[in-house]
């Protein structure tokens, strides 16, 4: 039995979401890759001859066998991905990682659930918001961007959570003026929140983790590291002995509070430490 190395996908649609931010919808010729998808898991996207890198889909459909990838153009790989055209072929493997765990109902009975996204970090949270919106009574979403031009998924999120979407921008050009942290502080002072989820820049996540922990609010965060093998053997994505690709990329508050590397440094492809602050 020889494994298939990759799932072949055809680019069905491409959309510019905001400044430097794109979404592509991939059509798979089989549902297998999608059937094991869940919010927070990721796929390795291979552009032959260029690069292979991890992305956590911003939506997926088992019925249609499609995945939507939303990404910021940051390097050669994402630039090439953004320059693809409909009917172009790319390859994916996965999904990998553990993804988000939906809290039990009795947790959310005690208060609302809060989802926090910073920048393009909101993208992998969208499938989670969809699941939460259909099963939890009180759901709040805070998303923050540097400025209005970089905002994404506002319409989609408004449809899912209606009035409970709070948008913040650093320059005040859309929604509240301020950061996700500012908006979260404000919301937590007036609302009873019992659980939270977050994804975004690690500086932001680190502050949110402290803030939520101080208030005794359980939470899960989706972290980012340089991923090479994605199958747990090379060690490039390790954070304090935990492999992001196997034990992550979503970590709960108990784990996060034990991680000495969280909020301090990431590793380059060589494994060298790159300090965050």
């Amino acid at each position: 039995m020889v494994a298939r190395y990759y799932f072949e996908c055809v680019l069905k649609e491409k959309k510019r979401e905001a400044e430097g931010l794109f979404s592509i919808i991939l059509q798979l010729n089989e549902r297998k890759a999608v059937s094991r998808m869940k919010p927070g898991r990721f796929v390795m996207v291979w552009l032959p001859g260029i690069d292979e890198f991890p992305l956590s889909p911003s939506s997926y459909s088992y019925e249609d066998a499609t995945l939507r990838l939303t990404f910021k153009v940051r390097g050669e790989g994402t630039r090439a991905l953004a320059s693809l055209n409909p009917s172009d072929k790319i390859f994916i493997r996965g999904p990998y990682g553990k993804g988000f765990t939906i809290p039990r109902h009795d947790v959310s009975q005690r208060g609302g659930v809060l989802v926090l996204g910073g920048g393009v970090g909101i993208a992998p949270l969208l499938p989670l918001v969809k699941v939460l919106a259909s099963s939890f009574l009180k759901l709040y979403v805070i998303c923050g961007f540097r400025r209005a031009g970089e905002a994404l998924f506002i319409d989609e999120l408004s449809k899912l959570v209606e009035g409970d979407l709070i948008v913040a921008t650093d320059d005040g050009s859309l929604g509240l003026k301020g950061t996700v942290v500012d908006a979260a502080r404000e919301l937590l002072s007036s609302k009873n929140i019992s659980y939270a989820f977050a994804c975004g820049p690690e500086e932001m996540l680190f502050i949110l983790h402290k803030m939520l922990s101080d208030k005794g609010i359980r939470h899960q965060m989706l972290l980012e590291r340089y991923v090479k093998c994605a199958i747990g053997i090379c060690g490039s994505c390790v954070i304090d002995g935990l492999r992001l690709c196997r034990e992550g990329p979503v970590f709960d508050n108990v784990t996060l509070s034990r991680l000495k590397e969280f909020g301090r440094f990431k590793r380059s492809p060589s494994g060298s430490r790159e300090f965050i602050t």
Partner: protein, 304 residues
Amino acid sequence: MAVMNLAVVIASLKLRHPIMLASGVLGTTPSMLIKACKAGASAVVTKSLTISPREGNPNPVVVDLRFGLLNAIGLANPGVEDYLIECLENKKAISKIPVIFSIAGFKVDDYVKAASLISERGLAKALELNLSCPHVHETRRFSEDPKLTAQVVKAVSAVTSLPIFVKLGLTTDLMEVVEAAVKHGASAITAINTIRAMAIDIRAKRPVLSSIYGGLSGPAIKPIALSVLYELYEEFDVPLIGVGGISRWQDVVEFLMAGATAVQVGTAVYKKGLKVFRELVSGLRRYMEEEGFRDVKDLIGIAH
């Protein structure tokens, strides 16, 4: 129940049982080495360290073939100095575990410099010279020419008092290379490295690995590695460390019987997780009980 001895000794390295973590697997960070030891490995080998940091090959660098694993990480590592700094930050935990530092280089002097830096820090229990990375030509050539092997082993043994393990691969002149290594100061031979191999994606119509060629590990190479070990045991009087596709306790027993004093496990950690170490150790122990062996050393080379 009779007391059973699983401990083995290779030069000055004492191991509480013969099963260690192979180089290249998870050893990018000291935190993972500590974890592998806690999980039951008797010693851990770091990822091969070079004098300067190396990003390695661009992705994709790994292909899961089911019967084996193909990788072309390309000796990615933060460089020996940074690695040592991070180890020193975890000195308390690291100094308690038997860490074997793996070194790779492109010229003799690279090995010498790295070996002296590592020896000075006092954290290593042994050195393993990776002379055989199958997809990095500059490193591989050290194991393809007995003269180069001799040079590098001799030069390293002049700057360190640590045991020197020499890691070799499947090459045509392997016996001459081993002879050169043993003659010039190798305390043990680690064999075999991954075997050069490749995979082509038939839909993408091109090699999967960015570097085209990689190294094959896992169950597919076990019988090959075993035959190399068997032959080395016939020819040389030097401790052997068997590596290549060991994933079941029966494999451990086979390698010991072929003549290995200890074994290293890599790819099986991916397939089975770190619990593989306990599984292998308890399988070995059970086998010894069944067969009436009191000392694991009695198994070494028994098949000859």
